[in-house]
C-alpha cells in the first residue's frame, strides 16, 4: 500500500476515468464507478439467473438463497404496501439486490463502493419518489394531493401545515439517499482510518506493534459491523421504498 493511501482515507472514493467519452460537451466517461455498477448488475442478475436455472423442486444451496431473497422482499412489500403493491415487486427487488450487492462488493478490498457516492444513491431515491408521484397522480388524479392535507386541522393553520407536509414529502428522497450514502461513506472512512492506525503504529517498533493490536481489533469489529450495515441499509432502503409506494397506492386512503 502506498503512503498516499495510508494517510488519505478519502482516496478510496476517487473517481477514475477508464474510458474517456465526451458527448455534446458532456463528460460521459466510463469511470471505475460505472464499471462497478456494471459488475454489480451482472453479478446480481447472473447469480439469480444461474441459481434459479435448475428450478429444482428441492432447492440446492444457491437456489435456496435466491428464493429466500425473493420471499424476503415479497413479504416486505406485502407488509408495507399491501397486495396491490406487488405490481412494483420487480422495482423493489431490483433496488434491494442492486444496493445489497453494491454494498457487499464495497467490502472487498480494492473494490469501489458505488453507494458511497451521493449522486448514485440520490438517483435511486429520486427514481422511487418520481415513481410515487407519477403513479399517484396517474392512479388517483388530484386525490393524491390529499396526502398533504391531514384531517382535523383548523382552517387557519391549513396552509402552514400543508406547506410543512409538502416540504416533509420533498425531503424524503434526500433523507433516503443521505442515509445510505452517509452510512457507507462513514463506515468505509472509519475502517480505513483504523486500518491506517494499525499501519502507522506498526512501523514504530516493538511498542508500536503491541499498541497496534487495539486498532486492529477495532478494525476487525468494524468490518463485522460494516457487513451488518451493508445488509441493513439495503433493507432500510427497500422498506422505505415500500412505505412510499404505499402512499402512492393509498393516498389519504
Amino acid at each position: 500500500m502506498s503512503a498516499a493511501d495510508k494517510v488519505d482515507p478519502i482516496h478510496q472514493f476517487h473517481l477514475k476515468e477508464l474510458v474517456h467519452i465526451e458527448f455534446g460537451g458532456l463528460n460521459l466517461s466510463f469511470t471505475n464507478s460505472s464499471l462497478f455498477m456494471a459488475i454489480t448488475v451482472i453479478a446480481a442478475a447472473g447469480f439469480l439467473y444461474f441459481m434459479t436455472s435448475s428450478r429444482a423442486l428441492v432447492p440446492g444451496r444457491g437456489q435456496s438463497v435466491a428464493e429466500m431473497s425473493y420471499e424476503f422482499v415479497a413479504n416486505m412489500l406485502r407488509d408495507g404496501a399491501g397486495s396491490h403493491g406487488m405490481k412494483f415487486f420487480p422495482l423493489v427487488f431490483s433496488l434491494f439486490m442492486f444496493i445489497l450487492v453494491a454494498n457487499l462488493f464495497g467490502m472487498i478490498p480494492y473494490f469501489f463502493t458505488i453507494t458511497s457516492h451521493i449522486i448514485v444513491t440520490f438517483a435511486l431515491a429520486i427514481l422511487v419518489i418520481g415513481l410515487v408521484v407519477v403513479y399517484g397522480f396517474y392512479k388517483h388524479g388530484f386525490h393524491f394531493l390529499n396526502l398533504f392535507v391531514p384531517s382535523g386541522v383548523p382552517g387557519v393553520l391549513l396552509p402552514l401545515v400543508v406547506a410543512i407536509e409538502v416540504i416533509s414529502f420533498l425531503s424524503r428522497p434526500i433523507s433516503l439517499s443521505v442515509r445510505l450514502f452517509a452510512n457507507m461513506l462513514a463506515g468505509h472512512i472509519t475502517l480505513k482510518v483504523f486500518a491506517g492506525f494499525v499501519f502507522s503504529l506498526g512501523s514504530l517498533g516493538a511498542i508500536g506493534v503491541a499498541g497496534a493490536v487495539l486498532p486492529l481489533l477495532m478494525a476487525v469489529a468494524l468490518t463485522g459491523l460494516e457487513f451488518l450495515v451493508a445488509f441493513l441499509q439495503a433493507y432500510v432502503f427497500a422498506v422505505l421504498t415500500c412505505m412510499y409506494l404505499n402512499d402512492a397506492l393509498h393516498p389519504g386512503h
Binding site: L147, I164, I167, S168, I174, V178, R179, N246, H253
Partner: protein, 111 residues
Amino acid sequence: MDDGEDGLDKRLNELGERLAERKTAADRAGDKARGADKSAYSQAIKVSSEFIAGVLVGALIGYLVDTLAGTRPWGMIVFLLLGFCAAVLNVMRALGVVATPQPRKRGDDRK
C-alpha cells in the same frame, strides 16, 4: 402406490408443521436481532439524515422562490423556517413520537 403417496403426504404435513415451528422461532430471533440492530449508530444516522433533509429542502425551496420571484431574502427566511418545522416533524415521525398521517386518516375517509 397409494400407500406410498399417503406416506408422502403424511411426511409432507409433518415437514410443514416442523417448518412452521422453526419459522416462528426464526421470526422471533429475527425480531430480537432487529431490536439489537437499532444501535445508537444507525439511529443517529437515521435521525440526522431526516433532519438534514428537511432543512436542506426548505433552504432549496427558499432559494428557488427568491431567484424566481426576486423576493430576496424573504423566501429564504420563510421556507428555511418551514424546513426546520418539516425536519422536526420528520424526526418525530422517524422516532414514532408522531403518527404518520396514513393511519390517522384511515379512520375518517373523505372520499
